[in-house]
Amino acid sequence: MRHEFTSSSSPADRRLNALIRHLATASIQSGTAVAFSPTSSFHGDSIFSHVVLAPEDPILGVTVAYNKDPSPVKLNLGVGAYRTEEGKPLVLNVVRKAEQMLLNDRARVKEYLPIVGIADFNKLSAKLILGADSPAIQENRVTTVQCLSGTGSLRVGAEFMARHYHQKTIYIPQPTWGNHPKIFTLAGLSVKTYRYYDPTTRGLNFQGLLEDLGSAPSGSIVLLHACAHNPTGVDPTLQQWEQIRQLMRSKALLPFFDSAYQGFASGSLDQDAQSVRMFVADSGECFVAQSYAKNMGLYGERVGALSVVCKTADVASRIESQLKLVIRPMFSNPPIHGASIVATILKDSNMFREWTIELKAMADRIISMRKQLFDALRTRGTPGDWSHIIKQIGMFTFTGLNSKQVEFMTREYNIYMTSDGRISMAGLSSKTVSHLADAIHAAVTRMP
């Protein structure tokens, strides 16, 4: 039965109609009947009757499913969080040191931070990604605001663009991190894609990328993964980056960098920042979202920064004032703990050095896992070319496995990964590589 309602119908009517629609649907799908709690003293329909159950987040849902599995050989290759060789989360030594220093500082208080966050943290973050000698920094053309890790930085930047930039379309690579389109859509931007991954080569579809960016309307926003593309692990070469830069500048496309793996991809902070720095060296404008979740292991502390590199210092300070208007009604001011740790480490040259050593160790372990997995598949004679495992970079490998094969691996081998075939190398260890190789081999040979 169909119930019309106009905008002038009362909320009660709307709720009733929503409930009726819900019940009508429920009667078609058996087993989803609406049940009123018998113990409730609430006699009317709930105002939330029309709210449906949202599906579990696909990426985080992998861990949920993993946790439910009782198998002793289960392997969580879902969410991108670093694990040690022993399969344990890692808190960096330098982070613990920094925290002890903060705790010992009796002058520390928990007063509200400024809306833009910790000044030191912001300056040091800009220096980290842009380079200490960056002219953009020296000329005060960069504004940096502390945000909630990468997600929060992307969201604040996108909200700003939706309000103040004339082009409301952002181009994102195909594929990209699952949360990207949602962030931009909710911020008020419309989302289009540009070709990126080539499944036949398991590498970059560079021609497609150039064509798609080349046909984007002038001034469009383009999301670029600074390094260690998520989920594919496929990065442009430096020469390809240069061509991308030229194309983008010729069309006045606005770069929005997502830098979540600086230092974590190659082991070198400077190397992993090259793409961003290229776009700043030509005096152009860009947005950069930084995350310290992986490279400082501060996942749950939510530490990140949004930097806007502008043409002039005056524009930068006006942009900062407008970013504050985005932040204040979202969370007022950012959390102090994680950013204090980062600032403490970045400003102390000894601690900074210690950090780079621990960071390189994490990156090296992942590179080693890539090699081990590649070797294991070769040993088994698994059909196919698996060299992409060692060619791709960063935390993730896009295996090229399809969703049926993934499902098979979960069912038969208790391997938990996202259905797009992405595995987190950080979740592998020397001890578990052979189990994964067995699973891949079985999936490819039994479910081609």
């Binding site: 105002i47 939330f48 407008q322």
Partner: protein, 461 residues
Amino acid sequence: MASSVLSLASAGPSASLSSNGIEKGKLNLGNCFKKEKTNLFLKTKSVGRISMVVASDVSRFEGITMAPPDPILGVSEAFKADNHELKLNLGVGAYRTEELQPYVLDVVKKADKLLLEKGENREYLPIEGLAAFNKVTAELLFGADNPVIKQQRVATVQGLSGTGSLRLAAALIERYFPGAKVLISSPTWGNHKNIFNDARVPWSEYRYYDPKTVGLDFEGMIADIKEAPEGSFILLHGCAHNPTGIDPTPEQWETIADVIQEKNHIPFFDIAYQGFASGSLDTDAASVRMFVARGMEVIAAQSYSKNLGLYAERIGAINVVCSSSDDAARVKSQLKRIARPMYSNPPVHGARIVASVVGDAALFKEWNAEMEMMAGRIMNVRQKLFDSLSSKDKSGKDWSFVLRQIGMFSFTGLNKAQCDNMTNKWHVYMTKDGRISLAGLSLAKCEYLADAIIDSYHNVS
């Protein structure tokens, strides 16, 4: 389609301009890292939105205006710039000791130390936050034995203090109650309207503050709530109304609940001062609990900024009391769907502190004592201020509202010109709506403040 213009560092100024000032540039593949700047070879007028043609030296954001400073936070900045020895900061609502220093609670210091010793990992929290925190925060607000908790009818999601929790709720309203309005008190915390504006939720005001009595305009409040379209969301301050300090009496709360029920409105509580207002967590939660006890569906945003002094840790929660556990599960799933593209998952540190303090009987007891101390100091300061005002002011004006008001803030009844006098003549910093933060007042400064208020009230109009 306007021609685009190169912004390569190497493009020279040699190209000539056509009559409308637009030049099609050439793509130069060499010398791409030369740092020399190009001359500005065209300017286009940027009116409002940025023009399509971008010259190499003109920012695409050239048309962006400087936003005004935050009215509340701007007060502290002005105070810092003042060098007068008698200056007093009664601006932002953060607790100060009698020595006017910021205060980190002893239980928080203990919890911080314990956390460092425990050395727990920093993995991502679930989108809804730390489970241990969500459990204790709901119990704290509704009471651990509350049937709604036992029946799992509360959807609780950790949020970024009060602001973040309100924002999640606002986004839920926008998505699932399109067109529904939120009614906010006149006046209310300055950021409320910003939150609803950014969440694209329409809002209007209900009368609240009565300048004639420096008290509650109860009839106006009831009339305006009655008049609102059925199914509106009524934003209520659970206790210690910000900025006025004026709370309804228990009887008035009952009447407010009656009207809300009559009109099928949804009560939406902002509880930023539980325990901080009266010193008792239970007393300060009485209004919310009364609504819940009536079987109403209720939204309640919590903050631990003031009562645990965790301002900068950004820890709070949004709670939605639903009529069934199934409703609560679905609502929670949708709150998660809102949080994920905003910040993915909330910060762990503040949540662990709260969970430690509330979860440990000894720490919980200590916390209660410290909260009583903070609330007590503010009540003492109110008393001293009232005494000073009454003894110094010979006009017979009734200053008792200072004692009737509760919490961190007081609405003095001073108008903007009088507030300016407070600042310019007396170096007392406060917001222009006449609000003072008692938390920023010491016993030692009460007499000085009384002089300032009396002067401003009587000698400035």
